[in-house]
Point group: C2
Chain length 193, copies 2
Amino acid sequence: MHTDARPARRRRGPELEDALLEAAWEQLRAGGYAAFTIDAVARAVGTSRAVIYRRWPARAALVLAAVRAHAGTVVGHIPDTGSLEGDVLALLHEFAERMRQVGIDVAAGLFSELDEIPEETKGVVPTAFRQVIDQARARGEVGAAAVPDAVLAMPGVLIRYSMIAERAAPSDRELQNIAHQLFLPLVRYHASR
Amino acid sequence: MHTDARPARRRRGPELEDALLEAAWEQLRAGGYAAFTIDAVARAVGTSRAVIYRRWPARAALVLAAVRAHAGTVVGHIPDTGSLEGDVLALLHEFAERMRQVGIDVAAGLFSELDEIPEETKGVVPTAFRQVIDQARARGEVGAAAVPDAVLAMPGVLIRYSMIAERAAPSDRELQNIAHQLFLPLVRYHASR
DNA sequence: TGCAATAAGATACACGCGTATCCTCATGGT
DNA sequence: ACCATGAGGATACGCGTGTATCTTATTGCA
């Protein structure tokens, strides 16, 4: 399995770091968050735990770095389906799908073990929703009044909470409920005040 | 400090269990979730870890049991201020206050370490909100149409998520935003369809 | 080309978790 | 009053985390 033919050469700097992130991602894919061990990552790369702790202060930080390196940012592109409803549903599905790609238990473990959700991560979802609302405004679909940040952030919060509490990404039904029962009514309400 | 004058007598059954929960609560109050140790609880009671593991399968379960035993259920009574807005704000504040009483880091730790939020816990918040809405209906303040569960559950989710993500209970400002920007508009929208 | 600075790698430690094992005390049925 | 049963209590184990310390290889600069 891992007869890891470790080179006699010592890798350093970025080369080593890439190998560590690669191995960490491999571990996550193979065994999920529960089985993820700093030790296993170190062994797979042919180095020792100290090298890892020099770069990342805790297991969660390494996992986060590995996920970032391999899964990229949460929302890649802004959908443009021609209607606000379509765009919102597309965004919700994309976000949930991204969670599934990372792996349910990895995402859940990360969210719960991290001391603080990174600022950058928190901003992604509201920004994306702001953009699809702007598109809708340009089409004259909704009014021009501002939609509060709390509304824009809500879908992301609900999806992340679902990951933590249910250990599963929201079903299509739940995503539709978020859109039709919560988000869209609020956008229309606030935008047309 | 703890010269715990342990009785030579062996306590058993409920008596022992109460002592364990008491000691666990004491530990939580004293050092928070981070400093909470199964070992410390056992020592404080003058017993050994095995006794604890016979009752609760993991640290989180013991913490949950201790919190339950000492903090009771999340929402004690349904407010009746005379207006839906008043009732909703009162409920939100009560819920947040309860979180603060348990201790921010304890609540956050619990939510994140638990595999599954207990069904019972999940139901409390929606039920309370349903009741204040019913009161508002009786006053003729809102329409009779049903308000979806997703709406009723949302405030609890937002508050719990805040505990996990920010390691803090929501500020008064945030609670007001939840009420005025999210919850109340949705209730009015759905109830009058 | 040689040598100091720096990072890699190897160990070892203390700690807490969760499990397993074995002995000992309290209890309740006879 | 006795004794089998079952729960309490002590102890040790394996594992992983995170820290600290020491040796060894690599690098880039003189």
